[in-house]
Point group: C2
Chain length 273, copies 2
């Protein structure tokens, strides 16, 4: 079981290598983690120029020696390689699992839209460095699903219907583009981080108004963390907002979801879990 | 010539009334400015609850006594009244002009999508209070176009083709929804304020990837002001970004546009100017 790690957005922190490798060696000894050197490169905002990040992704995704691609971290920028990378994926890429979240929602969305591989919204290698501790348990959810198809790390509400999970800002950026997959009959799980409430409300408007999402089965709301200050004061609570927009959308609000930019972020395989 | 002023997003500053009324009395004596009391109301983030803001807009828009609706200011929130307000507009609303920008792009987009009235992206009453001075000349562009159809306040590159103008974040929120008008063969003018570069790039990705915008004639870039700090450092310039995304979109970049959250913001009537 060989897992390739690449960084299609921002530069990853090499301090993740030692603890992640040590933990995997103990808990998942059948796993070999291979960090692409591109992970540590830097070019302005990004982990290397667009062409370099794309080449690293394609090199590992198209290599039949690898069983999965695990995205090192998020940030911003994986959207910039979609148009050129997606048409170059081969048969080996179709046989893989792909796991990440946050900005990696661009990759997951584009792959799922084309039914390439088996994609999941879940913890990334960088999560082992979270300052709150407990990173082993966090990354174990993704490792367990990738290496052994374990279900104990999955979001607990899954199983009734197909599902998909996105950071709300990434979902908003995908809406109206061909990179948004067909989510008909899916439960849509969303989470958000580091946005002011007015922008969360505006993103919910776009979600609720999106013609592409009219057939979804319902919405579940994950963690909304690091909310930025709103001026003037924002008077509504998140439960009021999500239920109002789901009402406008004409789909049920299905309750909370255990996903987010948090240590408790759980795995959501796209489609039927 | 009676112009009704309402605030479908944030509370307006009543200090605008005296200088705006005085200026209009001198320069456009045929104009009567009527401020709806809703402009000064407050409910959390907004200039009154959604129902109140909608009612004020409908009251003036549907009143045949008024020749135009001039939106007092932007902020956030006019999107929240679209779904209920638009179906209630009557024949009198179809005979009016509507002017605003920023968050009011939601109103302009929804009206233009339904071919209701004559809409323009242009300075608002609040612009007379800009601390940089010269607010008279700024609001005069909108007043002149509304009251007399004057062309000297129009964006100077208009006239070759139909056009439309949006704040980029508002455009991004409209993409994928039925509130985005059909902009086939239009020049699309965009401007932005108070966003970090990574988010501007992400919004340009959505614009460039939007299936609804595939038929546009080209893109022009207005002022991008108050750019927020980007971490890590952003390495690209705006000219590089806009030309790269226009290239991906397969439409020409048509050069700069004199619009924005600035004193020099000019009027862009939607359609043929």
């Amino acid at each position: 079981m060989k897992i390739g790690i690449v960084a299609p957005a921002n530069t990853a922190n090499p301090e993740m290598v030692a603890p992640l490798t040590a933990y995997a060696a103990l808990a998942y000894p059948e796993v070999e983690l291979v960090f692409h050197p591109q992970c540590w490169e830097s070019d302005g905002h990004f982990a290397g120029p667009d062409a370099r990040r794309m080449a690293a992704f394609l090199e590992f995704a198209n290599d039949p020696e690898f069983d999965a691609i695990w995205f090192a971290r998020g940030g911003y920028g994986s959207n910039r390689i979609l148009a050129r990378a997606m048409p170059q994926l081969n048969e080996a890429a179709r046989a893989k699992k792909y796991v990440g979240y946050s900005d990696m929602g661009f990759m997951l969305g584009a792959l799922y839209a084309r039914r390439i591989g088996r994609v999941a919204h879940g913890p990334m290698p960088t999560d082992i460095l979270r300052s709150s501790g407990g990173g082993d348990a966090t990354v174990a959810r993704s490792l367990g699903w990738i290496a052994r198809g374990e279900r104990q790390g999955l979001e607990p509400g899954l199983g009734q219907r197909p599902a998909a999970a996105f950071n709300l800002a990434i979902l908003g950026s995908l809406i109206g583009t061909p990179w948004l997959p067909d989510l008909t009959d899916h439960e849509l799980l969303i989470e958000e981080v580091s946005e002011p409430m007015y922008n969360i409300d505006r993103l919910l408007f776009t979600m609720a108004s999106a013609t592409q999402l009219r057939g979804i089965a319902g919405v579940r709301l994950g963690a909304v963390t690091g909310v930025k200050e709103n001026t003037p004061r924002w008077g509504e609570t998140l439960p009021v907002m999500i239920q109002r927009w789901c009402g406008d959308m004409g789909v049920p609000y299905l309750g909370p979801a255990e996903i987010g930019h948090t240590q408790t972020n759980r795995v959501v395989p796209f489609g039927v879990a």
